[in-house]
């Protein structure tokens, strides 16, 4: 059953169409990540689900019922923001217990204690329950903020870039932790980020957004291997997919409407140059440790491919290029050979 559904939802702020004709569903226990740049409509979508914004058109359902006009409190959702907002004068325990002590919840102190303890252990902050919130590191504070959402067991968790204020190492640790916790609790999560690594590593499904519309939604593997549009192809993958105008790939067999050929860096293969094939020139070899990024100049275009770090390649060298699993896009940027939805 779907925990949350949006059907043809649109929202304007004055002149700006923040979200346009948006439809998708979240199944129970799913971790859906909305990925897109600033201004794509991700946060507005989250706020529409939370009930913090009302749609101009369309319907929002929560837990199977129409919730379009329901207040945020009635929807049973928990929100985690980018900036942790803890009560500085309270201990970690009291911060975590706070949502459980809200009027109308009527949980016994013993029940509260049990739940807080459980969540604290899950988040590995059980040793800090007696500390003042202000005496924690950034990562601990963000874990308490997440814990405060988890402790309530709502129908759905809404998270707006909860890791973006943390340093790289902590972000990597918490990514893994958050996914484990979500799996352990079987929680339904709608998560917003502009970080493709977060989307790829945590999501059951990724929804790629741009200028208020949802361009594609699917598992990370589907989105990465089978993007239905140029924008999506370029949004995922690091280094970015190589895009080559079809005129420059003479000799390649391409579908008739092809305008652009996309080749992932790992699918651009280099070999000895031959007369028949494409020939480029190595411009620079970037050592990243586990692999090299080889920058190649091909008819005025920059291409990047991956190579073993110990493979001898030098700037200026000519290399033959072949394209494995190329993706073809038409003049409108749509992928050719994929059925329209």
């Amino acid at each position: 059953m779907s925990e949350v559904g949006l059907r043809q939802v649109s929202k304007r702020f004055g002149e700006i169409e923040a979200v346009r004709d948006l439809s998708f569903e979240l199944a129970s226990g799913e971790f859906v990540v909305l990925l897109g740049p600033t201004g794509a409509g991700k946060t507005t979508t989250l706020r529409l689900v939370a009930g913090l914004e009302l749609p101009d058109e369309g319907r929002v359902s929560v837990d199977g019922r129409d919730a379009t006009r329901e207040s945020p409190a009635a929807r049973d959702v928990a929100f985690v923001f980018q900036q942790y907002s803890l009560y500085p004068h309270l201990t970690v325990f009291d911060n975590l217990a706070f949502p459980l002590r809200a009027p109308g919840r009527r949980l016994s102190e013993m029940e509260i204690r049990k739940r807080v303890q459980e969540i604290a252990e899950l988040l590995r902050i059980a040793g800090k329950l007696g500390n003042r919130a202000t005496r924690l590191s950034g990562g601990e504070m963000q874990r308490v903020a997440i814990g405060r959402a988890l402790v309530r067991r709502p129908a759905i968790y809404l998270m707006d870039e909860p890791l973006s204020s943390l340093d790289a190492k902590l972000r990597a640790d918490l990514r893994l932790e958050l996914k484990r916790i979500q799996a352990d609790l079987g929680a339904t999560v709608l998560y917003v980020t502009h970080d493709q690594i977060e989307a790829m590593t945590m999501a059951s499904r990724i929804g790629v957004m741009r200028e208020g519309t949802l361009i594609q939604i699917g598992t990370p593997r589907e989105i990465y291997e089978s993007p239905n549009d140029l924008y999506v192809a370029a949004r995922l993958g690091s280094p970015r997919i190589n895009l080559l105008p079809v005129e420059l790939a003479a000799g390649e067999r391409t579908p008739t409407r092809t305008k652009t050929i996309g080749v992932r860096t790992e699918h651009l293969l280099i070999a000895r140059p031959t007369n028949a094939g494409l020939v480029g020139q190595v411009r620079r070899v970037e050592h990243l440790g586990d692999q090299n990024h080889v920058h190649i100049e091909y008819k005025g275009h920059s291409l990047i491919t991956l190579a073993d770090p110990h493979r001898p390649l030098a700037a200026g060298q000519e290399v033959g290029l072949s394209l494995l699993n190329p993706l073809y896009f038409d003049a409108a940027g749509r992928r050719i050979g994929v059925a329209a939805e």
């Binding site: 990597a172 990514r175 893994l176 996914k179 484990r180 799996a183 970080d195 690594i197 790829m200 590593t201 945590m202 990370p220 593997r221 990465y224 995922l236 993958g237 690091s238 992932r264 790992e266 620079r284 970037e286 050592h287 990243l288 440790g289 586990d290 990024h293 991956l306 770090p309 030098a314």
Partner: protein
């Protein structure tokens, strides 16, 4: 263009030693990166090279000439700061040409040099734009333009891309390196971002607590970290460090980790103690059903071509980089194999790498 030499450079602020005593040479035309966490002394070292700080001890030589006590303005070096302030009331051309105007260069000459700098940076179309209308990347380009217009002997850059978001940062780092390749000026670049250091540098100096822990080509730093600090700081995910107890003697070619025998490159010296640490890069870990070293999968992270698998083992947690096609389920028990020819052993107490056959004949450009 210039060679920069630093000899026994030391800087003490009151009772804090920021730089402990560094010596290194930066070749003419090299792109040299100083890498380390905040407080490691990299910026202080850079500021001493620039002449913005006086060393407590040691010398700085520019093309063999002692400039230790020469003022910054007399060193003919350009410093590019993070968040380089542009003059908001001037347009791009005026901002870029400002240093030349201050030096009293003739107006036609300024215009020609500004145009040349703009061409190198590919911002010719922006020359008459207002600075306030520029994107973050273009502002940074203008800042760099102002530094290169003087044609100094060397560029010093202190986290010039620190304020940009990840994607723009990557594009700009590529652009800076391209620019370097076009003009070939000696560049000293400070960053705490290991990926930036690896991708941009000809040579990297890794610093920690005021000490240069290692200097080398990016691939050598990655393959042969001189210390556990370097091993963990460079690489993402970092090198796995697995503690074990045991004696290590020259010509030993295996160690015992958690009851399992693990083949390593032949040792060339004694292990300094019996508290040792095995260093394994994530891409050198693989699954092998029969392997005696066992672990339990904690989680997987899909990255497109590869996936990072985190595994709980008796000694802690380790990470493996595997092809994304390998099917791995959280909770399952797996056997672990390591690529013997790439392993390192460190001394737990000092953190130093124990010399082995791996250290022989290993060079990269």
């Amino acid at each position: 263009m210039a060679q920069i030499r630093v000899e026994n450079l030391r800087k003490v602020f009151h009772d804090f030693t920021a730089v402990v005593g560094s010596s290194f040479t930066i070749d003419d035309g090299a792109f040299f990166v100083m890498l380390g966490p905040s407080g490691c002394g990299k910026t202080t070292t850079l500021r001493m090279i620039a002449g913005l700080e006086l060393p407590s001890e040691g010398r700085i030589l520019l093309d063999g000439e002692d400039v230790t006590f020469r003022r910054a303005a007399e060193r003919d070096i350009a410093f590019v700061f993070q968040l380089f302030a542009l003059y908001p009331h001037m347009n791009v051309a005026e901002n870029v040409g400002f240093p030349l105007k201050c030096q009293g260069v003739a107006r036609d000459e300024v215009r020609a040099q500004v145009r040349e700098a703009a061409r190198l940076l590919r911002i010719e179309h922006l020359l008459s734009s207002k600075v306030s209308n520029l994107s973050g990347g273009d502002r940074q380009r203008v800042a760099v333009g102002r530094a290169i217009v003087r044609r100094p002997k060397a560029f010093l850059m202190d986290e010039p891309l620190g304020a940009l978001d990840a994607e723009l940062r990557h594009d700009m780092s590529e652009e800076l390196r391209d620019l370097h390749d076009r003009i070939g000026a000696t560049t000293v670049y400070v960053t705490h971002d290991q990926l930036e250091a690896m991708s941009m540098a000809d040579r990297i100096a890794v610093m920690n607590h005021g000490v240069v822990e290692q200097i080398g080509a990016p691939q050598d730093i990655y393959d042969l970290p001189a210390s556990m600090f370097v091993a963990e700081f460079v690489g993402s995910p970092p090198m796995n460090l697995i503690p074990f107890a045991g004696r290590l003697r020259p010509s030993d070619n295996s160690v015992r980790v958690g009851g399992a025998s693990v083949a390593i490159p032949e040792a060339r010296e004694d292990g300094p103690s019996e508290s040792l640490v095995l260093g394994v890069r994530p891409e050198h870990v693989s699954f092998a059903d029969e392997a005696p070293l066992r672990g339990r999968v904690f989680g997987t992270e899909y990255l497109g071509t590869t996936q990072i698998v985190t595994i709980d083992i008796e000694q802690g947690q380790i990470k493996a980089r595997l092809p994304s096609l390998a099917s791995v389920r959280p909770g399952e028990t797996v056997g672990l194999a390591f690529k013997a020819s790439s392993l390192l052993v460190f001394d737990q107490a000092s953190g130093r790498a124990v010399r082995s056959a791996l250290h022989e004949g290993h060079t990269h450009v």
